[in-house]
Symmetry: C2
Subunit: 424 residues, 2 copies
Amino acid sequence: MPAKKSTGRKSTAKKAAAKKTTRKAASKAAPKAARTTAQHGPKKAPVRSKKPTRRTVTDATDKRTIECIDDTAKVVYDKILKKNAPELKSPVRALSNVRYDPKVGYLEIGKARKVRTLTVNTVKAFAQTLKMLHISKEMIEQDTFATKREAYYVSKNWNEARFKEQPESDTVMDDIESMFSLHGVSREQLRFYPEEHGGAVAGNLVVIDRDPVSGESLRIDCTKFGSGAYTIPHSVEHLEFETKAKFVLAIETGGMFQRLQVHGFWNTANCIIVSMGGVPTRATRRFVRRLSEAKKIPVYAFVDCDPYGISNIYRTLKVGSGNTAHLNRFFCVPHARYLGVTPQDILDYELPTHPLLDVDIKRAKDALKNDPFFQQSKPWEKALNQLLKMKVRAEQQALAKWGLNYVIEEYLPRKLKEAKAFLP
Amino acid sequence: MPAKKSTGRKSTAKKAAAKKTTRKAASKAAPKAARTTAQHGPKKAPVRSKKPTRRTVTDATDKRTIECIDDTAKVVYDKILKKNAPELKSPVRALSNVRYDPKVGYLEIGKARKVRTLTVNTVKAFAQTLKMLHISKEMIEQDTFATKREAYYVSKNWNEARFKEQPESDTVMDDIESMFSLHGVSREQLRFYPEEHGGAVAGNLVVIDRDPVSGESLRIDCTKFGSGAYTIPHSVEHLEFETKAKFVLAIETGGMFQRLQVHGFWNTANCIIVSMGGVPTRATRRFVRRLSEAKKIPVYAFVDCDPYGISNIYRTLKVGSGNTAHLNRFFCVPHARYLGVTPQDILDYELPTHPLLDVDIKRAKDALKNDPFFQQSKPWEKALNQLLKMKVRAEQQALAKWGLNYVIEEYLPRKLKEAKAFLP
């Protein structure tokens, strides 16, 4: 369908647009695509055409990312000059290639590597990988970014190398991501951003960002949002922090976050509250990780007492997930601890409950049986078995049985007095 | 299960907690429940017990809401004294009771009323309705709120009147909501807040909120968030605005919002950008409505060109939805206009497309056949038929075919020059 779309009548306008477009996205990587586009720009394309703003990259992280890209390209280039088949190496992404060492604190990718050698069969994917890397380099130079979806659409100008469906481009991006994770470079540093932004933040924290256009430094005071909050951006690598808060409280639901925000819990408890809204996004996990590491403050998770809250939300926040083990070094919070709701809380606070569903039971048993994190943790083994025995689950909102603000006035203060007793 | 849970051993601690709890949530409404709780407070309940902070309500909106609650209760009370069966009236919530008048600008609830008279069969729901109203009044006096979920859990202290499942409490809340919509009182004013907060905001806007605890006024400058953004709170009734922006741009996807934010589009175009993240939440719609009305600035929608983007996202933003017609007076933005992506844009900008799925075709045909908004709009009839004829859809990200920032440098500026041509 897109192939069809890109046939059309000539016009200077089109040429102009096309020149510009291809300079922005795919020109050097795809001279042929460039020419094609030049003949098929949009009818409404501009007559004027601006130069894309290219900056001299000064940011250390960006410099390092560009070096990694250049090195990768150079290895391929030299091999070709020597008439050898070039290769691209990336870690095998499978649970079989995942390990957990409590000292490291997150699910790590193993040593197994996947090698793609340039052959007649791999030539297209090989070219697409290099083109994707080229876009990445250009995005850094132009200080912009692309979502997975946009990267897919950009390829519509690659002519023969164009992706037919997004899953193809996603796979190439995942390969690149894992390839560069070996060099400590994340997908965000390559300027491929997730579609969804991070959660909401409030509390005793000043986030130091820069104006994306002027570059001027900005101080964002998270005590000054009233009933609103600060939204974590899609990429947080460049953020810095000032805080005297004692801990970060990562909260499962937006409703509970709003309660703690509106009643200034972060003020009385001197903390920073973060709304995860279910399983935390990459940006949220990275934000909490960077913040808590930079400021050396503990992270406590406050989620529902059910196998999903424990083995999906909390587990992902703390040690990451198995099938993205190559990312966990960036995206998990190994020092996070579990404040509650615990199975014991259900008894101690006589909470209203719901029966465990089959899917809950299966999830808890899987965690005990197959999850390297829960397997090495006696306290969690005990807690999950207790939950399975009780056959019930309880939500953090269930504390409302004792009054809407019981959670603020009684539950959290009492739990925080025994932080050492939190589940690991 | 919860019923079982609330049997337990006595203790002064429990009594203390219970007294406190019931004062907070359900005491006057449920003396029996109060006694019950007194016997069954949580094991870990506090010995000390604080008075809930009751404020003298000064806020005009809150005062009016309390008056409405008192009036409703008084009518019931007087009827009972006169030994007549008390009634509660609310609008019939059905498409059959919905009308659309372009002059009004949104789908309105009709004149049909549902009357619930107190009988042996309705006594429980009747009691629950009055208890829910009582909580609402207490929440206003204590300046707090409850999510639907929390309201359900609070009822666990109501003894016989307790809700067994949340759908029961949701129904009662929906009845109350529509009952009070007749008096111009929204659910948020009754302090029942939605679980999900609003979208992200950035641009030439200062939001004036107050510190929820100190009451001190706060100025939130939405030009100073760097790559982050402002999260709209769950309730926006109390917010005020300062802006010289020319328009509000409501954007479907978080990715596109991030692009416009990071490249300071709101600065060059002098506007306010709002991320809807699909169908906008109640808070987002109310925020855009109050902002644009207070400041008399137009609202433009920028969504995908498919029947979902048009007849769900845009239609809900502009005229609300049929089955919540009693809310539309609060939650829609009648003066919103459709910037794009339009079916004609797909041709003019030669966008990559995807074929319409059966569900898309059905949705578009339903809109033309049954939706009072699209029925009275010739331009929309034409546009939807054009889309059905083209048999394709295109996403806003598809503009990336011409370069990642083509949307900022060419598409939006050109469209904004012809704002009069936007679809109604």
